[in-house]
Amino acid sequence: MELSNREAWTIVHGMTVGALFLVAFAGGMAELWSLRDGLVTLGGIKDKLWRLYVGVWGMAIVAWVTVVTGTYVVYPWYRAAPPKGADLANYPRSLLLADPNKDLWHKFGMEWKEHIAWAAPILATAVAFVVTYYGARLARDNKMRWLIMAMFVAAFAAAAVAGVFGALINKAAPVR
């Protein structure tokens, strides 16, 4: 049982940082949801803010690491053009496009995933900045808190689309 260099990078891109992303989102969302005046004391808010900063900045950083490793490390192996007569098993994009039963994994799944994934770090960074700028004031500004919670969820949804398609495409035509 051993992993090739490409498989190891795929795991780093999809599973390691993906798991961190989930933890950071869950933590950040829980803290944002409960950051309400009346639910926590002044001292409690101050403690809570540190966990919130870790959650939102953690999610933003992890999202950037995911899209950069995905685009510049794993994706070139996925899209590499095979030389004539090569075994397509080593060229996932070509392998999918060569099979009419599987070509939608690329034409729909990969084409959507490779773009929408980049929305996640952009939105997560905006949320992290707003949380840092506003701090405890979010507890008394429900409109702003709801707005950034919506953006936080949108960032997560973009990453979820990319993550689910990434896992399914890698099952149909693995990067080896």
Partner: protein, 124 residues
């Protein structure tokens, strides 16, 4: 005794530290720039699908293909727009109802533009 006294938090001071008013302009600038960034990502995706010349121009790195240019230019535009909006809104307070509406429109349109069944229709 002195240690106990110094560790007692003055509620009024803490209230002032945590809740002193701030204009929402810089936060709105970050939110709008993020939504505009997603819209530009969708626009780049759509334009690259619609015109071969645009797709070739976005080919910043051969290994990655046009995705390298689409995402790099999105990042550059996002940061520039964030800077500009921050400069304009730095000391202002903006009505969040408008921000909500603009963000929803930009995110929906941006996502539609990068949805394959839509940009596939304009491929030459």
């Amino acid at each position: 005794m002195s240690e106990t006294a110094s560790s007692v938090v003055n509620p009024a001071a803490l209230e002032a530290e945590l809740f002193s008013p701030r204009p929402n302009g810089p936060a709105v600038a970050a939110i709008l720039a993020g939504a505009i960034g997603v819209f530009i990502l969708g626009l780049n995706t759509f334009l690259a699908a619609a015109a071969v010349g645009v797709s070739k121009w976005f080919n910043f790195q051969n290994r990655v293909g046009p995705l390298s240019g689409k995402t790099t230019m999105t990042g550059v535009a996002w940061l520039v727009i964030w800077g500009l909006l921050s400069a304009v809104l730095w000391r202002r307070n903006v009505r969040l109802e408008w921000v909500w509406a603009i963000v929803i429109i930009l995110l929906v349109v941006g996502n539609l533009l990068m949805f394959p069944p839509i940009f596939d229709r304009v491929e030459p």
